[in-house]
Subunit: 279 residues, 2 copies
Amino acid sequence: MDFWYKEAQTNDLLLGVRVTDILHSETTPYQRLAVVETVEYGKMLILDGAIQCTERDEFLYHEMIVHVPMHVHPNPKRVCVIGGGDGGSVREALKHSSVAKVKHVEIDGAVIEASKKYFPHLSSGFSDPRVDVLITDGIEYLKNCEPNCFDVIIIDSTDPVGPAVGLFSAEFYGYAYKALTWDGVICAQTESPFASANLLKKCWHNMKVHFPQVGVATGFMPTYPTGFWTYTVGSKKMALKANREVTIRGKYFTKSLMERAFDLPPFLQEMLEGSKKNL
Amino acid sequence: MDFWYKEAQTNDLLLGVRVTDILHSETTPYQRLAVVETVEYGKMLILDGAIQCTERDEFLYHEMIVHVPMHVHPNPKRVCVIGGGDGGSVREALKHSSVAKVKHVEIDGAVIEASKKYFPHLSSGFSDPRVDVLITDGIEYLKNCEPNCFDVIIIDSTDPVGPAVGLFSAEFYGYAYKALTWDGVICAQTESPFASANLLKKCWHNMKVHFPQVGVATGFMPTYPTGFWTYTVGSKKMALKANREVTIRGKYFTKSLMERAFDLPPFLQEMLEGSKKNL
């Protein structure tokens, strides 16, 4: 028997992954959710036809989206994770000993439940007393949030379709700016510079509307389109570098990686700097 | 009309790329060769069902496989490129002003002809008087080559199937060792650490049979399996770092990249060091 999961990564690109079992499939109020077992990547979480994470390569993504912005902040105590219902970003944030509170805002509680059941390694942080989970719309949450609430905000969103579209807007980054402390830092996943160049440029410009310092970090991510992923970081005051000792050594993230995290390849720097505001 | 090129990257992984035109298709004495036009990546060269290069992302691969080993050598004058009939590696090698001669050994002359016709940007180096093209088997060539002939040898092979299998063997690395000068450097493309972990481990061990210093550099490569590629470098005498001024600034390769080119992520370092010789 020959079962494949095939993702249309763009109109013109497709990734196929051999599947050995469909462990879970449901339609939540927000999206279609599936958990499958694959040969190459172990268990895989799929939302609305897009691979969210796999057992084998999730560390590459979660270490980047969390540890890069967390080291830009000199002393992150209060962290907000928007999206990322699988729990991987929460898990990584908790590795920083300075962290007193992680507010996790996820629109779809079914993702958290599926992760607790099928991805215990990803969802391990949910039982930590420092974590406060809120099932609600992240945009509304940050819009109405008290100012100066968070040191670091992580936008661990799905692709920019459906309810996640607003998470890539200048308006939303403005809410995040207000919710951050004076030395606050934001990090958003901003897709592939090859498959989604315009989206990346748009996010970069949108973040620059509010944040005086914006940088882009890149990292490998085999199960995302082109394997080449970006994380856009905005900072209110702190320079885009490690502003404290790099205390984390992950499977991918290291002190050395942090030292050149914002050192973009020339083709990408030119792509961003040559891009127009109105995309 | 909906045309796709679908590559079985492994038994369990598939990449699909939308095709708008088939420009060329032939069966050479060595392999099936096709050139297609794609939406995402421009023109694409395919050999025996495996994407070799595309107009849009080839620079990522060619800059890594050439400029990393070329900077490990203090003064590379004589370079040998085995494989790489598209000409991308030859083109990059010629950018080093120290280079007096590039010996290009390709088993299949049809690849060079196709590149000259469809990829003028890749094949531009073939008209340089420093380039000497030899259509023959790279293994036999290095086996019978005079000792101390080359400062740098670049193994720009296809995947380890068919005639290319021998290009990943310890025996072949031994021929290369002999053909290199006392401070010579070799670099081989060694596939993806996710899709071909065992092959990478094997090459690393095989190269260590002969070369006292062996390092692995990693780089993005969207159209190769998992987008995550490795380049294994062996050095007879020189330390694995830039041993001269970094004079090249490419679209991807920079001085900064060279400074941490051999700085492997912990998961990959552990994978290599924990691996056994007999794979």
